[in-house]
């Protein structure tokens, strides 16, 4: 169930960033550093993870991604290169073995047959809050309006005085920050290592595609669907078969509804 929360955040992406997994990893490591090394509370770790990942993301956007707009293959290659660099740097700094972050809210309670850890509940609540916050951000704030203006009609937005490059960087930084949050949240449950980003990457891609790349609501539902079905099926058959089935279903969805399940109609 904790995985659910993770996937929700991972799904918020607007550009093809193969280093997204690594941003998650960075968030996780930040959490590790802050809690274990510096001995501060988890509450500090969360915003710190957001900030660090956002900063890295912004740097990526400025240095690399904005130079490559309109060239998806190059963008993928470049971000792949970045992911390798980030992985190896983490490897060099922290070593390859997994590190552990203590669960900030230990203990669990029972709901009938099911044992539910407190931390998982916290995660879900927190993620929901973040989601609500993001939606509010997009709908109510000036920043959010600018982002939506740009998505709908970039040149028009620029004519209206919106600095689209600046907004791009901010958006990307925000998305990266969210990834970092995800990493920090995942850290206590999954352990931290340089190469942990990989599986999250694929899942994020798939969920954003299933949900519809332009729609937050869709992505949320998408990730819920993906996470839930994997868990459900995993319970019924076994993990591998579950993954295969989910994968097949996703391909079918992509094939027949490339805009995702909740896309807005585009001209």
């Amino acid at each position: 169930m904790a995985a659910l929360g993770m996937v929700v955040i991972c799904g918020l992406m607007n550009v093809i960033n193969l280093a997204h997994g690594e941003l998650i990893m960075i968030g996780a490591y930040t959490a590790y550093c802050i809690t274990q090394k510096a001995g501060m509370s988890f509450a500090v770790a969360l915003p710190a993870a957001f900030a660090v990942s956002a900063a890295v993301g912004a740097a990526m956007e400025l240095a690399v991604i904005r130079r490559l707009t309109g060239r998806p293959a190059e963008t993928m290659l470049a971000t792949f290169g970045i992911s390798v660099v980030l992985q190896q740097m983490a490897n060099l700094i922290f070593g390859a073995q997994s590190q552990y972050v203590a669960i900030p809210i230990p203990g669990n309670f029972s709901l009938g047959h099911v044992v539910v850890p407190y931390y998982n509940v916290f995660t879900i609540l927190f993620v929901t809050a973040v989601l609500a916050g993001t939606v509010l951000l997009m709908k109510k704030t000036r920043f959010g309006r600018r982002v939506r203006a740009i998505t709908q009609n970039r040149s028009m937005a620029e004519c209206l005085g919106i600095d689209s490059a600046h907004v791009d960087t901010m958006t990307f930084a925000f998305g990266s920050g969210l990834a970092g949050l995800a990493g920090a949240l995942a850290a206590p449950v999954k352990s931290v290592s340089p190469f942990m980003g990989g599986p999250y990457l694929i899942n994020s891609f798939l969920t954003s595609v299933v949900g519809g790349i332009a729609s937050f609501f869709g992505t949320t539902v998408g990730s819920l669907l993906v996470g839930e079905s994997t868990a459900l099926l995993g319970g019924l058959t076994n993990d591998v078969l579950a993954s295969i089935l989910v994968f097949l279903i996703i391909i079918a969805i992509i094939r027949f509804k490339p805009e995702g399940l909740f896309a807005k109609e585009r001209r």
Partner: protein
């Protein structure tokens, strides 16, 4: 005649590569000869990716799956030569499963190893390319496919050897006669040469012309009367067959095969070869794969993780400054020299 000269760069490199590969074993370094033999097998894999990505523009992030299907087929066959393979016996298998019996004959295994991935590619192509599935989706789906494939192999302890894969495979042998290193090496060399010739002829034909136009402007092509889905599926199938062939050779040449060899990592490694070497001309793929393999082998002994880091940086640099790879940069340099 600038086009003439820059094509000359390709021909010179091709010749150089084949000469070096051809004469290498005569240097007598048997350990390295074995290594180069493996790298030659990788050339076939690189070319299979090139015709799909370099020429047609379809970035397959899970190409190693097709390679792995060929490899595992051959590995299963080879390990079943003396009856039930050891790793299966250890898990309590007493009767060979029907599919194992089908591929016990090496010739059958080779055929299956080549045709099965081709079939998968063909089916996938028919399913994906007939909708407006864009390039990025294709990449994401192939990436997911690679992950599923790896998971599958890792979970099949009984039949596929699980995490450790299948090891202890004998080298190439024909009609009972086991090939020596030299014989094996030159056999692979001949296959590599034939594959190269095939790919060149195929890409120089009108088929290649249509494929390049798929990469350039897919919609325009449709309006000229070509069904782009059929062409993409066809090249995907051919690419799958070649990747499978590479896998079939890999199993005996490498002596073992494991899920890690045939998953996302190997797929992305091949992408890196082509990105750095240059794509859309078989030379770049060959150069990239050989260069990176040789350098990687030499440097990672000494520097370990730094090599990977360096590679990551090189990729980013190449994307910005040498979008057509090393071969592309050389051609440009020659052109400007004119």
């Amino acid at each position: 005649m600038t086009k003439h000269w820059s094509l000359r760069v390709n021909r010179v490199l091709d010749l150089a590569i084949f000469l070096i590969l051809g004469f290498f074993p005569l240097a007598g370094l048997s350990f390295y000869t074995q290594l180069i033999e493996k790298y030659m097998v990788f050339l076939i894999f690189a070319w299979s990716l090139d015709i799909l990505w370099g020429y047609t523009g379809l970035m397959d992030l899970g190409h190693a799956v097709l390679f792995g299907m060929g490899g595992y087929t051959m590995a299963l066959c080879l390990s079943a030569q003396g009856g039930i393979p050891e790793f299966m016996e250890r898990c309590g298998v007493t009767v060979p499963p029907f599919w194992l019996k089908a591929i016990m004959n090496p010739f059958a295994a080779v055929l299956v190893g080549i045709l099965l991935p081709a079939l998968l590619a063909w089916l996938l192509g028919r399913f994906l390319f007939t909708s407006r599935v864009g390039g990025v989706f294709f990449s994401v789906i192939t990436l997911a496919l690679a992950q599923v494939f790896t998971l599958f192999l890792q979970s099949q302890q009984k039949y596929m050897g699980g995490f450790n894969g299948i090891g202890g495979l004998p080298g190439l042998s024909f009609f009972g006669h086991s090939l020596s290193l030299m014989e094996s090496y030159y056999f692979v060399f001949c296959v590599v040469f034939l594959v190269f010739a095939f790919c060149r002829v195929l890409m120089a034909s009108r088929f290649g012309l249509v494929l390049r136009s798929v990469r350039e402007n897919e919609t325009r092509l449709e309006f000229l009367g070509y069904d782009q889905a059929k062409f993409k599926t066809a090249v995907f199938a051919v690419s799958g067959a070649l990747a499978g062939l590479a896998g079939v050779l890999y199993a005996p040449v490498n002596g073992m095969i494991a899920p890690n060899d045939v998953g996302i990592e190997f797929s992305t490694t091949a992408i890196v070869w082509l990105a750095i070497g240059g794509r859309g001309n078989l030379t770049g793929a060959a150069l990239g794969s050989l260069l990176i393999n040789v350098l990687g082998n030499a440097l990672s002994e000494q520097f370990g993780a730094f090599w990977q880091l360096l590679l990551g940086i090189v990729i980013i640099v190449v994307v910005f400054f040498m979008p057509d790879g090393v071969v592309g940069a050389l051609r440009k340099a020659v052109k400007e020299h004119e």
